[in-house]
Amino acid sequence: MHALLLLNSLEGFFFGSGKAHVVTGVALTILAGLAFAMWRMDRRLSRLEEENANPPS
């Protein structure tokens, strides 16, 4: 690693060691998880709204 990248911890850590790809991957995974959880909740709520509007007799 170039000595410059050791100049301060973030500069060296982030791009110098290729950890930027790891950060991108983790952030995308969290976003995908959040999107999936919200999509599932959205569908469940739609079902509950339907049941609530037409309660089983």
């Binding site: 976003l31 959205d42 709520l45 509950l48 709204e49």
Partner: protein, 347 residues
């Protein structure tokens, strides 16, 4: 058709945020000078080494003669002779005259491909007398070349790589303002009509807004640790943000404390109107009247033209729309839960 449109905007918000993450973390930083060694100079010849971060400002085996380094003292320029140029470093010989207009020297590195790199107060001359730079030591300002760096984020001293946090921290606050504004309108409508449907909206908006407020505080604290060296500093903008989030937490506590009381809707609406007025005062008015470490001080607590450039805007605006839409989606989920719960409880 309504269902189709719903999934289009919800999917678009996720796609926009995915774009923001990919672009935000893969775009390189423009080169910027960070240090000069030695930083204390005496009246003799020195070998000065400048270090840079971000993209390389020179290719491997670049010719030093294609670059030029001048030092500025006051409004006069001091010549140097570049001896070596590396992708992230430049070395030059400099002779210090006995008289200088200022003991503080700024460095300007003129490059053929990366534009002009600047380092303010790069070094200090300990024992120079005050006076003009002798003619034989002076430099002429070289012609500046337009940078050819491609899509890259601007280098800002201290902020450096952490400039990417702009795509998280600021849009999260914008999303909070937006959703708290919706809550404020809902509370006004609730006070006017005394209809529970507005109360359900206000509660959903505040609950969502508090989440985004906490995220804004967390990302801001992380940024402060990096740029200012402390997790929290006593600054009007920061304290105002914390008080705002605490005020809105008080709204949720008030509702929980009142339980099934019939007056909960009206009381909470009055509190919410008060909280929103405080939000405006604490985050938009007071910081304009006080000195602040936060960007855009001196009258404007937001952005100025130096904080953003076009490459940042190309990612920042999608981030604002993406976070705003995600926040609205969360709000609609909470609102629908509130409606179902109310409908079941009132049977």
């Amino acid at each position: 058709m309504k269902g189709g449109w719903n999934w289009i905007w919800k999917g678009s918000s996720i796609a926009l945020l995915a774009y923001v993450i990919l672009r935000g973390f893969s775009t390189p930083l423009q080169p910027g000078l960070v240090s000069a060694t030695p930083s204390q100079l005496t009246l003799e010849e020195h070998t000065l080494t400048l270090l840079a971060v971000g993209q390389p400002f020179a290719r491997e085996n670049a010719q030093a003669s294609d670059f030029e380094l001048v030092l500025r003292s006051g409004d006069q320029l001091l010549a140097t002779v570049l001896t070596d140029v590396q992708p992230h470093a430049a070395t030059a010989k400099v002779r210090i005259p006995s008289t200088l207009p200022s003991r503080a020297l700024d460095a300007f590195l003129f490059t053929p491909d990366a534009g002009t790199l600047f380092l303010g107060n790069a070094c200090f001359v300990e024992d120079a007398a005050k006076g003009d730079i002798p003619t034989e030591f002076r430099a002429q300002a070289p012609a500046e070349a337009a940078p050819k760096l491609g899509f890259s984020f601007p280098y800002q001293p201290n902020i450096m790589e952490s400039i990417r946090n702009l795509l998280w921290h600021v849009p999260m606050w914008f999303a909070m303002f937006f959703i708290m504004g919706l809550g404020f309108v809902a509370s006004l409508a609730q006070l006017r009509t005394d209809s529970v449907k507005w109360d359900l909206r206000a509660e959903a908006a505040v609950r969502t807004g508090v989440i985004f407020g906490l995220l804004g505080l967390t990302t801001g604290s992380l940024w402060a640790r990096w740029t200012w060296g402390a997790w929290w500093v006593s600054d009007p903008q920061l304290n105002g943000a914390l008080v705002t989030v605490l005020l809105y937490s008080g709204y949720l506590i008030l509702r929980a404390a009142l339980g099934e009381d019939d007056r909960v809707g009206r009381l909470a609406a009055v509190y919410n109107v008060f909280a929103f007025v405080m939000l405006v005062i604490l985050l938009m008015v007071l910081p304009r009247y006080t000195e602040s470490l936060h960007p855009g001080k001196d009258g404007n607590p937001g952005f100025n033209s130096y904080d953003l450039d076009n490459s940042l805007r190309a990612v920042f605006y999608p981030a604002v729309i993406g976070w705003g839409a995600l926040c609205y989606w969360m709000y609609t989920l909470r609102l629908r839960m509130n409606r179902i719960a109310y409908s079941l409880l009132s049977r």
